[in-house]
Symmetry: C2
Subunit: 113 residues, 2 copies
Amino acid sequence: MKAPESRVRPPSALFAALGDATRLRIVVRLARGEPLSIKQLASGARMTRQAVTKHLHVLAAAGVATPSRQGREQLWALDRRQLAQARLFLDGVAQQWDVRLARLKASLEDPPR
Amino acid sequence: MKAPESRVRPPSALFAALGDATRLRIVVRLARGEPLSIKQLASGARMTRQAVTKHLHVLAAAGVATPSRQGREQLWALDRRQLAQARLFLDGVAQQWDVRLARLKASLEDPPR
DNA sequence: ATAATATGCAACCAGGAGGTTGCACATTAC
DNA sequence: GTAATGTGCAACCTCCTGGTTGCATATTAT
């Protein structure tokens, strides 16, 4: 068996979730670690609470943020795992590039005959 | 003065560029380092060449890929700089989190009086 | 020169994303 | 109990995105 939240998501969905200015600001605010209610997140965002709610659900679908009930409030917090996945992906791209550059450099210093 | 391509882009635009499965596949293919023509990139993508062209322009607008003419072909290659920026952003988020966790841990081990 | 190849440009279209409004419901405060 | 607060749900609207088609243009091959 496997953890339900860790089911495979295409990395593009992850980047798409981060690919909105409003959502990225939410992520940054949540990155401080303290869970925030929808009300708190909506204040300061120049749009309706419902719009913010939608964005939060997008983040949840991407596995980036998760909610938890606390009385009549819903507190949202980040889930680092998917963000770590995104980093790994970018690392992979950079690494392939590095490997290729290393090969090129090697071939220049010690050309194949 | 500063390099023209390094003008500030909102990081969300960057993630948005990566937030499409087709574009991400293009990025992965280009990550090998070898520049590819539009024709080459379009073969294997089950859509029209024009659709691929559009995706390439999105990547170019985000500063992720850049074209260069070679006769009648247009060769596309990755530009790592923006990808590095994306990594830095994710590092920042993770780091804030780490800092907060460290503080929490410290406060538990050595509680403020 | 002519044909084949690789790309550019523009119009067009369907669907989804981001946002709003209005109202219902649950929880806490007084 | 009643009011205030925080949220959930659904309908609706607009605009952008991803995709197509059709044709024009530039370069290379024969």
